[in-house]
């Protein structure tokens, strides 16, 4: 496979990571916590989508909508039950709570759904672009044949729609502007008459909706199992931190970097070491934290 093909894979991976990373980074910026249970929100979204598409057969686009609404409701309910009551305790207790909650949720899902992976029934069309000349540099083929499936296009398309809608939301609506104000300075926002708790709730709903969408997209691309979300949480985290924690635009950029690096490392690592491709994301994460912890577009996270 050529480099171009791997970049296509990277863009697809980057797209669903980006959708999730936006939700993750909004929670970080506005609720001021690292939500380690966010991966489980994604899993829940994926399973809601599978249930909707399988048990009460609705067409896929409707199932996606159901998963998004379900994700938003679940996220708000979990926030009300677990995170809002301890909002004032600081980032560490909230991070630890989310780790505990994530562990519990993951096992609840495993208990209910079993250990088998579920798949979406989708029909795929593959578009091939053949006859591109091979442009070899050493063992690396820079062009080569490329194929794109309709699933790839759906994932990338959804991501683009999310970016546009999110940008409109953050710049054109009262709620979005209030969110950005809170991300900047919560006390000032409150002084200006913003109901901070309501904004926090809307962030939880928005993050849940995005997690639901990301979950279904991941399930369409691969499958849905109890560990689907958990397998992606560190990549999402890496993307959000790379972009600058709290910045949705940075998170989008970070996600595509992570996605493409993952795809390339899977392709070019020697066989038998493909497990290392997940380590690559963490190496990037640690590297970013060391070199430029503020990320592509963010704030300082070092204290001394």
């Amino acid at each position: 496979m050529g480099l171009t093909q791997n970049i296509v894979f990277g863009l697809v991976t980057g797209s669903y990571i980006a959708i999730a990373a936006i939700g993750f980074t909004l929670i970080y910026g506005i609720v001021n916590m690292i939500n380690f249970a966010y991966g489980e929100y994604i899993t829940i979204g994926a399973f809601i989508g599978i249930l909707a598409a399988g048990a009460l057969p609705v067409p896929l686009p409707v199932a996606v909508l159901v998963a998004m609404i379900g994700g938003g409701v679940v996220s708000l309910a979990l926030a009300k039950g677990f995170f809002t009551p301890i909002n004032d305790t600081g980032p560490i207790p909230m991070l630890l709570t989310s780790i505990g909650l994530g562990l519990a949720l993951r096992n609840v899902i495993r208990l209910l759904a079993g250990r088998n992976a579920r798949y979406f029934e989708t029909s795929t069309t593959t578009f091939r672009f053949e006859g591109l000349p091979a442009l070899s540099v050493g063992p690396v083929d820079l062009l080569g044949n490329v194929f794109v499936t309709s699933e790839h296009l759906i994932v990338i398309g959804c991501a683009v729609v999310v970016f546009v809608v999110l940008h409109a939301l953050l710049t054109r609506t009262d709620v979005g502007i209030a969110m950005r104000a809170m991300g900047d300075d919560e006390s000032l926002a409150r002084v200006r008459g913003i109901n901070t708790q309501r904004i926090r709730d809307s962030v939880w709903v928005l993050a849940g909706v995005l997690a639901g969408l990301a979950g279904v997209l991941i399930a369409i691309q691969t499958n849905a199992s109890a560990s689907t979300g958990y397998a992606h949480i560190l990549q999402i985290l890496a993307a959000a931190i790379l972009g600058g924690a709290g910045s949705p635009y940075g998170a989008i950029a970070g996600s595509y970097v992570i996605g493409i690096v993952l795809a390339l490392s899977t392709a070019f690592l020697p066989s038998g070491m493909t497990e290392l491709s997940s380590a690559v994301a963490f190496v990037i994460l640690v590297g970013v934290l060391l070199v430029k912890p503020s990320g592509i577009a963010g704030q300082e996270v070092r204290e001394a």
Binding site: M33, I34, F82, P85, I86, T89, P91, I92, P93, L95, L96, T97, I99, G100, L101, G102, L103, A104, L105, R106, N107, V108, R110, L111, R115, L234, L237, A238, I241, A245, G272, M273, E275, L276, S278, A279, F282, V283, L285, V286, L289, L290, P293, V301, R302, E303, A304
Partner: protein, 347 residues
């Protein structure tokens, strides 16, 4: 004068006496032909008890880092794994997979402490300056990286199979299983108590006061002329080296290691034990760990009568563990025996 009144009064000194006595009795079983026979029902208790002694060292080290100094290390298992793999690779004799150099085990154990300490120093220099929650993420990511390295490099770390045929010093001396188990739990329990004594000595000295001052407010500590970074670094490396020591002992006790022993589960277990007991209090964290590991014991018995499969049961146990963590943070942030005022949390 009764015997009781002659015992030292401090916590640390008592732990030292108890630890030395346990090691001596354990050595008696290991070195002399003295034998024990255990009732079959006891096996599971001894097994979990031995694991408790090893995890106890982990939680004491973690408590030095988080409870006393306030360093949020969420990758503690990586130092445990580093120690275990060092011992395995240096001491194992021609294992099925991975490297085994067949060196004498005391040298390997010493190397384990050094390797874990050096790894701690490397992680520390790079990440200790990060804000609390990002330090947690950086350490967690380090643990995940090493876990995937252990799985990926089959020729070096043995992949998923891990490394076997590690010498078991006690098992080699004593042929009979019951006696070996008794000697193991006594020796490891004793060693754990001796470490407890050493760390208590450290934290009750003025040195420990500086650490707790850093936890409370590192700006103030720096303003009275203490090098906050140096102290944080030392606490981090001590905790890491102790975890490496525990890992080395685990490898020597178990005789084989695999990546499955070193998952994030270990980190979560010691963290919950520490928070449940009450951070910054060595006896309390051990108590908390005992409660969590007691739950594991309880669940083994409950499994026999429960009408669910063992994998479903494992899930239920983890749900309970996760919810305990959530509940402790919400309702008793200082833990069961912790001092809420000292830790600066509201109950």
């Amino acid at each position: 004068m009764s015997l009781a009144s002659r015992l030292p009064s401090g916590d640390g000194d008592r732990a030292l006496v108890a630890g030395v006595v346990l090691v001596a009795v354990g050595a008696l079983f290991a070195l002399t032909p003295l034998q024990t026979t255990l009732p079959g029902a006891f096996y599971v208790f001894i097994e979990v008890g031995t694991l408790f002694a090893i995890y106890g060292m982990l939680v004491i080290g973690l408590d030095l880092q988080y409870g006393h100094t306030g360093l949020v290390n969420f990758g503690h298992v990586v130092f445990f794994a580093a120690g275990a793999y060092t011992v395995a690779m240096l001491a194992a004799e021609s294992p099925f997979a991975g490297i085994g150099l067949g060196l004498p085990w005391p040298a390997a154990l010493l190397a384990a402490v050094i390797v874990a300490g050096v790894l701690g120093a490397a992680v520390g220099t790079t990440s200790i300056r990060l804000r609390d929650d990002f330090l947690a993420i950086a350490t967690l990511a380090t643990a995940e990286i090493f876990h995937s390295l252990f799985v990926a490099f089959q020729t070096i770390f043995g992949g998923n199979v891990g490394i076997g045929s590690i010498p078991q010093p006690v098992g080699d001396l004593v042929t009979d299983t019951d006696t070996a188990m008794t000697a193991n739990i006594l020796l490891l329990g004793g060693v754990m108590l001796v470490t407890l004594a050493a760390v208590t000595r450290l934290t009750s000295a003025p040195y420990g006061r500086v650490l707790r001052a850093i936890r409370a407010d590192d700006l103030v500590t720096r303003s009275v002329g203490k090098s906050v970074f140096t102290y944080k670094m030392q606490a981090f490396v001590y905790g890491a080296a102790l975890a490496g020591f525990a890992g080395g002992l685990f490898a020597l006790y178990n005789g084989a290691i695999a990546p499955g022993y070193f998952t994030i589960q270990v980190t979560v277990t010691v963290w919950i034990g520490m928070l449940l007991g009450g951070a910054a209090n060595h006896r309390a964290v051990l108590g908390g760990l005992a409660v969590i590991m007691g739950l594991r014991l309880l669940s083994r018995f409950a499994l026999d009568v429960a009408p669910v499969s063992s994998s479903a049961f494992a899930s239920i146990r983890l749900i309970v563990v996760g919810l305990i963590l959530v509940a402790v943070i919400r309702y008793r942030p200082a833990g069961i025996w912790g001092d809420a005022k000292e830790l600066g949390v509201d109950t």
